[in-house]
Symmetry: C2
Subunit: 134 residues, 2 copies
């Protein structure tokens, strides 16, 4: 067992999982990443306009689910969760590609984040494209 | 605090962090994802040839590091870890895009995994490309 320590929280108008978009580019409203003040040295090189990957802990997910109907639609055949983006999975880590719109201290405005309000943030990484590598 | 529960382990010829490739496509040897037998329903729809994202817990990383010289090279200016792929970060979750080469039960051979031998696996997700979505 390993301990994940939240480094910040999502602020978003999205509060109801059933109404949330399934993906960030399916109509997610702008949202905020609000980091612990102690994270300032870690976020200091994030830049407005950049695409980054935000990792969250989907704290309202079910961890004992191993297969689902994708997108919650019974018409989709049951599929192992590792082939889906279901939040319900043994370790419910959310992976969100977002664009940074504004940075004010440790508060960052982002586009395309479908996470629920108050979701814990656990990491931020550069985008997966080779051009974003450091 | 949240509890991460390993669902499997990496088997790899890479055992020394200092000699490991920094990225999966920088000469990583083939490696194996060895899942707990209980994960069979979750992995059952993974397919040979597919690109998937493997999430690991980088258990040999330092969690109190907030800024680094990228790629461990002192010539690179100190950078906040959220703008780098440093394994040293508050929550050392590894994100690895790998290609599935073979599947034998709960043992999966993959290309392009730079994780060290015995690294815990915590999740597997479809690739981030829109075409890979379910």
């Amino acid at each position: 067992m390993y301990q994940l320590r939240p480094i910040g929280w999502v602020e978003s108008p999205i509060t109801d999982r059933d109404l949330a978009p399934k993906q960030g580019d399916e109509g997610a409203p702008d949202a905020w990443l609000v980091f612990d003040p102690g994270m300032r040295p870690a976020i200091r090189d994030l830049e407005v306009g950049a695409e980054v990957i935000v990792l969250t802990w989907l704290d309202r997910a079910s961890r004992d689910v191993l297969a689902v109907h994708p997108r919650g639609d019974p018409a989709n055949p049951v599929t192992g969760v590792f082939s889906t983006r279901s939040p319900d999975r043994p370790n419910p880590i959310g992976l969100h590609t977002v664009q940074i719109l504004a940075i004010e201290g440790t508060r960052i405005t982002v586009r395309n984040l479908e996470a629920l309000d108050k979701t814990p943030i656990v990491d931020v990484k550069p985008g997966l494209e080779p051009s974003g590598r450091r």
